[in-house]
Symmetry: C2
Subunit: 153 residues, 2 copies
DNA sequence: GCTGGAACTGAAAATCTTTTTCACTAAGGC
DNA sequence: GCCTTAGTGAAAAAGATTTTCAGTTCCAGC
């Protein structure tokens, strides 16, 4: 498993390669994202980042998220109650497993049995499928255990 | 296949059962949704509905969408460029097939080979999966044909 | 059919979120 | 270290959604 520091370094390099500058505000935003246990909204990112760098502007958070999204190192999470929370993205195509109780998110892949199903659907409908969005919502092991306990009393 | 009128009637009944009133503004919003070829934003719904009922307030569109979403007769579509377009939902659990060119959307179901895959994932991760969001994005047959034609000259 | 009262409506204002503008700052190649 | 230019933060603007409120309309009960 990759350390936080290594990923920060990696993201910084990606920004530089892309012709961008690695500034202090950007570094702080990246750190907050990398340390988060759950997806965070721009507002939440700003609040947390200001604990370390109080003069940070919310505008810069938005701009940094744009950059990171372009570089595909962060991903947006879609939920019924709002779709503007961001998560570090491991490279490549991934799906998301979300805990509805604690908010924890987990990426997974290597699961493209989905591909066979998509092929079937293409044959049946005439549609050409290019990409997909798959998110599973439920309970993480920890929250599931806690809820079962609660039921007992 | 169910007619538009029949579905309007059905939605109205659902509202009444739920203790709500079937008012003229609500009926107009429902009609617009039922006639749409693509998912529509609240703003778009309002514009179209005003052609028939000019005094309609945008607020009422928001409120009506809330009601219809609660009754699960409309569904929100999630896209990278925004997640606030609404679509009539056929009852039960469904997935979405979206055309990235013309915007047309198509629900599909009866496809829960996905269930087997979810069971595997639960075993592997310890997560308990309760619901999921699956949207496939690509080209509808019509748009695919047109694009291929365009390539030729 | 009327009527009374609660549900619903639209305008305006308030609130939130995101984008734009602009004068100033600081990365980082030289 | 210096220079250029990308990036920054404050403020304002633009957009989206929610709240408030006085007036209207639906419809259950007569
Ligand atoms: Mn996939
Ligand atoms: Mn399904
Ligand atoms: Zn979404
Ligand atoms: Zn199409």
């Amino acid at each position: 498993m990759e350390t936080k520091g290594a990923r920060l370094e990696e993201w910084s390099q990606r920004i530089a390669e892309h012709g961008g500058r690695v500034t202090r505000p950007r570094r702080v935003v990246m750190q907050v994202l990398l340390e988060a246990e759950t997806p965070l909204s721009p507002q939440e990112i700003c609040t947390r980042a200001r604990r370390r760098y109080p003069s940070l502007g919310l505008v810069t958070v938005y701009r940094t998220l744009d950059v990171l999204e372009t570089l595909a190192v962060v991903r947006r999470v879609h939920r019924e109650d709002g779709c503007h929370a961001y998560l570090p993205a491991t490279p490549g195509h991934h799906h998301l497993l979300l805990c509805r109780r604690c908010g924890r998110a987990m990426e997974f892949s290597g699961w493209d049995a989905l591909d066979g199903l998509i092929a079937e659907l293409e044959a049946a409908t005439g549609y050409r499928v290019e990409e997909h969005l798959l998110q599973l919502i439920g309970l993480c092991p920890r929250c599931y255990a806690q809820l079962k306990e609660g039921e007992r009393g």
